[in-house]
């Protein structure tokens, strides 16, 4: 079985700006994959290239084994894209839009599936309303629905939850999780790292047009964890016994941060403090999450040569 998406040595230049440099990426069928990176890292550019909205300067991309240039029709039939911008056609109603979109994919009489998506995305009340009259969240749902009219095996969502309220975000994720369980490959970009952490099997991090990390979510966090569990303490008096100085990472604003290997050490740290009559006013255990991984990678990968 070919990979859901295969990106080989893709470059994109806008004049002298290198938006993407030699991107290699293979996303397997059935994966729930996140593309992370700060604004301007090239996430949307990469998605646009996969979708055929933008043409790569070099390299090749295939979707379910179909080259996006030479076999663009098969590639696009296998792909559903939810764009980041809230774009819509003000001339039509929700149901009209979805039936027209079906037609573009060569599907006649798609009313049953369209009504099902409308139902599942909670759009039934607005099915015959003009797109103009819909709220932002509703328009976002229509965009998701539009990407699904042709039941694509691969679905890419470019920041699907940007500017969406908490309730809708939950509904959307439940829906997308369901799609993934039904066998669809899901690729998403998001700024909410906790979402990626909770949902995605694998993560690629982009910085300045290059992939700086590509691994399973668990591995990335495990690497960080090995390097950096810590405990923060506020002490009275604000002095550290000399026996603990070896663990000290940080000491400012009355907050002492100690590096630990495992949680069993917490007990010995506390007993050292007790024996010196130092009171613990405040204590936090810190375990890295994807956000820490992200921040650390973005910081450490430095400014690579252009």
């Amino acid at each position: 079985m070919p990979p859901a998406i295969e990106v080989r040595q893709v470059c994109k230049r806008f004049g002298s700006l290198h938006a993407l440099t030699n991107i290699d990426l293979e996303i397997h069928t059935g994966e729930f994959f996140a593309l992370l990176g700060p604004n301007g890292a090239g996430k949307t550019t990469l998605i646009s290239i996969i979708a055929g909205l933008s043409l790569a300067t070099g390299g090749s991309v295939s979707v379910m084994g179909h080259d996006i240039i030479t076999q663009y029709q098969q590639a696009r039939r296998n792909l559903g894209i939810v764009p980041q911008e809230l774009v819509f056609d003000a001339f039509f109603t929700v149901r009209e839009i979805l039936l027209i979109q079906s037609g573009y994919y060569g599907i006649k009489n798609n009313i049953r599936w369209v009504d099902e998506i409308i139902e599942r995305l909670d759009l039934a009340d607005k099915a015959d309303a003009n797109m103009r009259t819909l709220s932002g969240g509703m328009k976002r749902r229509v965009l998701v629905a539009q990407a699904l009219v042709h039941k694509p095996p691969v679905i890419i969502l470019d920041e699907p939850t940007a500017g969406v309220d908490v309730e809708l975000r939950q509904t959307l994720w439940d829906f997308i999780k369901q799609l993934n369980q039904d066998g669809h490959t899901i690729v998403l970009t998001t700024h909410y790292l906790e979402e990626a952490e909770a949902l995605c099997h694998r993560v690629a991090m982009l910085k300045e047009g290059s992939i700086v990390a590509l691994d399973s979510t668990q591995n990335l966090i495990a690497k960080m964890t090995a390097a950096g569990k810590s405990i923060s303490l506020r002490l009275l008096p604000d002095t550290l016994p000399s026996s603990l100085h070896a663990l000290l990472m940080n000491h400012n604003n009355g907050l002492v941060e100690l590096r630990i290997e495992n949680y069993a050490q917490v007990e010995s740290i506390l007993s050292s403090l007790r024996s010196e009559n130092i009171q613990v006013l405040e204590m936090h255990l810190q375990q890295p999450d994807l956000e820490d991984v992200f921040v650390s990678i973005m910081r450490n990968s430095g400014n690579q040569s252009k």
Binding site: G52, L53, R76, V87, A90, F91, Q101, Y104, G106
Partner: protein, 251 residues
């Protein structure tokens, strides 16, 4: 085929839903031209022998309305979709560039023909307009609206902003239609202007279209047909090429 038909249907629905502005308004303004010229010029301009000026004017005005509306349809649909961003829904789909081309052009032709037919039918209430060789007229009105639709598509893809499109419309399409013999026969012009008129492809569309009405034309309808057909093929090749390379649409 379903993809092409859907895009065509969408393009037709688009102007149909705002028919007051896209069909009725241009009919009214064309008939106003006719009314004004009829009152002012009926007895003072000589065109063809035995053809009253107003009757001469009618096919010209019909064709002008057809050309302008066919152009307006593809160009405004394209630029609106580009600026509002919803062109991505067409670009993301497996629609072939040929399907996109033919859907836009056919929609333009149909809008042009609807406006032209509307104007013609209204004039029939007041005037006795002959239509001696209807097939010639039909042929030229279809080719003329197609050329206009293709030009509109190219302009709509090329323009980044509405004012660039307006520039194209006001400085190219408008002068070419107004100076193509809508209001006069080129035989009434000084030699230099006659020569210039012959460089204007819109002149052949109108001359050929008028031939279908009166059986008289400034030049042979076969030559006009040939020139119009060559123009259509040339700009169609250009437009299809533009769509294929993704110029201004796929970055």
């Amino acid at each position: 085929m379903t993809g092409f038909l859907t895009l065509l249907y969408k393009e037709l629905l688009r102007f149909w839903k705002v028919g007051f502005q896209t069909l009725l308004a241009p009919m009214v303004s064309t008939l106003l031209y006719l009314l004004v010229f009829y009152h002012v010029l009926e007895r003072s301009v000589d065109v063809y022998p035995d053809v009253a000026y107003t009757i001469f004017l009618i096919p010209g005005l019909v064709m002008m309305a057809v050309i302008q509306n066919a152009f307006a349809n593809s160009s405004s649909s394209m630029i609106q979709s580009k600026i509002s961003g919803n062109i991505v829904f067409v670009l993301l789909s497996p629609l072939s560039y040929r399907a996109i081309f033919f859907a836009y052009i056919l929609a333009s032709i149909l809008r042009g023909l609807l406006v032209g037919l509307g104007v013609y039918l209204v004039t029939l209430i007041f005037f006795d307009v002959p239509l001696q060789l209807p097939l010639w007229s039909l042929l030229f009105v279809i080719l003329g609206s197609a050329i206009s639709g293709v030009l509109g598509l190219i302009a709509g893809i090329w323009a980044d902003k509405f004012d660039q499109l307006a520039t194209f419309q006001n400085f190219i399409i408008m002068p070419l239609t107004f100076l193509s013999g809508v209001f006069y026969t080129v035989h009434s012009l000084p030699a230099g202007w006659q020569y210039l008129s012959h460089l204007n492809p819109f002149f052949y569309m109108i001359d050929g279209f008028r031939y279908g009405f009166f059986g008289i034309s400034d030049i042979s309808p076969y030559i006009s047909l040939l020139i119009v057909a060559i123009c259509l093929i040339a700009i169609s090749v250009l437009a299809i090429r533009i769509l294929k390379t993704g110029y201004k649409l796929r970055h």
